[in-house]
């Protein structure tokens, strides 16, 4: 056993209201500067839709992630031979227009234009060239545009659906959408890191955050291709790639990443997972069907004394182990098996998990009115507007059984609560649903609490950073001992 710790996340999609507060928090903090204007380390896309960058899930075009060919697992569009061969021109690199050309408006013209017959306007100008542009795309151009010919219809996940099922989704009565907030997954088998010719990308041992060393990046751009989620970005101004840093300066001092802290829908959970690094290699080579189960297995029980001993031996701090025991992420992912990774088939072992959305489910209608008085208030999950197949393509590597089991649980929790709160159904009915979903009433109660009544400290459990030890993250204690007081940017010169 080689136990490591990872700060990991769960997004509960039923709760996301698509407000983009998370994106703005991140933008203001990290990417509101030259060369990074087009980057959204956190973005929220509407599904079905093509996302950001345009059609990022289409790996035929972008060649991201790992693929299993026979027994071997290799990078689809990068790697030692392919990457170096394409280093002078990378045919799979998404370019600016695949994202959008960032712009601002000439606000100044509104107040400084000379007097004339026309109202002055603030024309849009490109943030790259400074020239006037006609805005043709933005980071959220298809926001809420479910059913659009241009965007929704081109969703890569439709490949999993039959023609009839696809058409059904575009029926006016059945139109549906959901939000998918995305950040870097801080993967266990990061394709970005494996593809970097300079070796500039690394995973931090302490918390699993994946970072790009700006001093070592040489603009070979392979990470951009390799990341199947397109969460590394090329800064055209500095000539360096950048990515989500999970707000590590905040995490180090015990604060919560900005996107999560500001999340209006409170959909986000952050906590420690302990995993067995020895299993990763085998895990990466599993067949598609077993990937999600395998990843769950690699995440180990933080209460198991053997695990604790192995963690300690690896130098994992007691505070980290304690946090792992209280981790909301552990409950969602491992205990309740409600949270699933996004597109696990890319084999990067993403450590951000999603609770797939249950709603909207078609209501029961008799003679034009919703039937909201009895236990048939919710119809079956099979009638969910988002076809289970579609969700399975996103979160289940095509395995509908996985999604069905999650949705059944979510539904059972709702029925359970309704039987208590509204009591328009018999307790037996709710119990039956729980039994079928494989939940106990106590578990249902806990899921309900962590979904709806969770406080800040329940959603986010990361170890308190001991100030006296925080410095040890980057320095040897005894080296640091002689340095207290105030320092100098440039040392003194004695000549």
């Amino acid at each position: 056993m080689d136990i490591r710790s990872q700060i990991s996340m769960v997004f509960h999609l039923d709760k996301c209201i698509g407000c983009h507060t998370c994106s703005i928090a991140c933008k203001n903090l990290w990417t509101d500067r030259k060369g990074a204007e087009y980057m959204w380390w956190n973005n929220v896309e509407t599904k079905p839709g093509t996302g950001y960058p345009h059609k990022w899930e289409d790996q035929e075009e972008y060649k991201g992630g790992w693929v299993k060919i026979g027994k071997r697992v290799e990078l689809r569009g990068a790697g030692k031979f392919r990457g170096l061969k394409n280093i002078f021109h990378n045919p799979h690199l998404p370019v600016l227009d695949d994202y959008y050309e960032p712009w601002t408006y000439k606000y100044d013209d509104l107040i400084s234009s000379p007097e004339g017959n026309d109202q002055p306007t603030a024309r849009p100008v490109s943030l790259v060239t400074g020239e006037h542009i006609e805005i043709k795309a933005g980071p959220n151009w298809d926001d809420d545009l479910s059913g659009s010919e241009l965007y929704a219809k081109n969703d890569a996940n439709f490949a999993a659906l039959s023609k009839k099922e696809q058409e059904d989704m575009f029926n006016l009565e059945r139109l549906v959408m959901m939000y998918l907030p995305r950040i870097c997954n801080h993967c266990l088998n990061p394709a970005c890191a494996a593809a970097c010719p300079s070796g500039a990308i690394y995973k931090r041992g302490e918390d699993g955050v994946v970072l790009i060393n700006q001093e070592q990046c040489r603009a070979w751009r392979m990470c951009v291709t390799a990341c199947p989620y397109k969460k590394t970005f090329y800064n055209w101004h500095t000539g360096k790639s950048e990515k989500c840093i999970l707000c590590y300066p905040r995490i180090e001092v015990g604060e919560i990443p900005a996107c999560m802290h500001s999340c209006v829908g409170r959909i986000r959970y952050l906590g420690v997972l302990l995993y067995d690094a020895e299993k990763i290699e085998k895990l990466v080579h599993l067949e598609d069907d077993h990937l999600i189960e395998g990843q769950r297995e690699a995440i180990v029980d933080p209460f198991d004394p053997k695990v604790i001993a192995a963690a300690r031996a690896n130098g994992i701090h007691d505070a980290m182990i304690e946090a792992a025991q209280k981790s909301p992420v552990y409950r969602w992912v491992k205990e309740w098996k409600l949270a699933l990774p996004l597109h696990a088939e890319y084999r990067t072992l993403p450590m951000l998990f999603y609770v797939p959305p249950l709603l909207p489910i078609m209501g029961n209608v008799t003679e034009g009115t919703y039937n909201n008085k009895n236990q048939t208030y919710f119809t079956s999950i099979e009638q969910s507007r988002l076809p289970i197949k579609y969700l399975a393509s996103l979160f289940g590597v095509g395995n509908e059984g996985l999604i069905r089991s999650v949705l059944k649980k979510l539904m059972a929790v709702r029925l359970h609560r309704r039987s208590i709160e509204v009591s328009d159904m018999t307790p037996e009915f709710a119990e039956g649903a729980l039994r079928e979903a494989g939940l106990t009433a106590r578990e249902a109660e806990e899921i309900f609490k962590l979904t709806s009544l969770c406080t800040f400290v329940e959603r986010f459990v990361i170890p308190a950073s001991h100030r006296e030890e925080a410095i040890e993250m980057t320095k040897m204690v005894l080296d640091h001992k002689g340095e207290t007081g105030f320092g100098f940017l440039d040392g003194p010169e004695r000549i």
Binding site: L84, L93, V95, A194, P197, G199, I201, R204, R218, T238
Partner: protein
């Protein structure tokens, strides 16, 4: 006099400046070491520029290097006319490829508004320098035939004499101006390595071939600290 300056003093100055400045910049500001790729802003013309340029120049440069390292073998190998012809033609083709590529790169710098934004004076300067270098090389190949032969007997000894710190002008003085230009321009390129995007070829990622796929870094390695104190 000019010859002495250009072929005995300049090479050493160039070498020292290049070495010292490259090391200095690497140590003090390795953030600035980047190939500064602009593919993200424009990737069509780049293909027709960057690919022929890089592959062309790589082959031609390796040719120069092989001739320098194994002059006798090259000479012996080329003693059969057909072989020599094949070598010459190959070199010429790759040289033309590089020339085409670098011209394309210049064209691209001036025609795309997005690329203009990320173009510096130094970029243009070194591109022009490269055109001069490759063009002179191609012309030499055309007008002073069988360069592979005379390179090994006249230029290689000169380069070796420079290397062992006793530059022998006798080898280069009688050469035509075009060839002299080719040499001086090459030395100039050397000088500008640390001051331009040329720097990227000092950090060519060959170590990628044998490094592990994944890198994990522990900022705070408790086990190691326990051992140390």
């Amino acid at each position: 006099m000019l010859d002495i300056l250009l072929f005995t003093v300049l090479p050493y100055m160039a070498f020292i400046v290049a070495m010292v400045m490259a090391l200095y910049r690497y140590r003090t500001n390795s953030f600035k070491f980047s190939s500064l790729s602009s593919e993200f802003l424009e990737n069509n013309h780049l293909f027709w520029g960057s690919v022929p340029w890089h592959y062309g120049i790589l082959v031609v440069l390796s040719g120069h290097l092989i001739g320098f390292l194994f002059p006798r073998h090259v000479l012996a190998f080329g003693s059969i006319p057909v072989r020599l012809l094949i070598m010459e033609v190959t070199a010429l083709i790759f040289g033309l490829m590089a020339l085409f590529g670098v011209c394309m790169l210049i064209y691209r710098r001036f025609t795309h508004s997005r690329i203009k934004i990320v173009t510096t004076g130094m970029d243009i300067f070194i591109l022009v320098l490269l055109v001069g270098q490759v063009l002179s090389g191609v012309l030499i190949a055309l007008f002073y035939r069988w360069g592979i032969n005379w390179y090994t007997v006249s230029l290689v000894p000169y380069l070796k004499s420079v290397l062992v710190l006793s530059p022998n002008l006798n080898y280069v003085s009688p050469l035509p101006h075009l060839i002299k230009y080719h040499i001086v321009s090459a030395i100039l390129i050397l000088v500008f390595i640390p001051f331009s995007r040329f720097m990227h070829f000092l950090v060519v990622p060959v170590h990628y071939l044998w490094r592990n796929w994944q890198r994990v870094i522990w900022n705070y390695d408790r086990k190691m600290i326990r051992k140390r104190y």
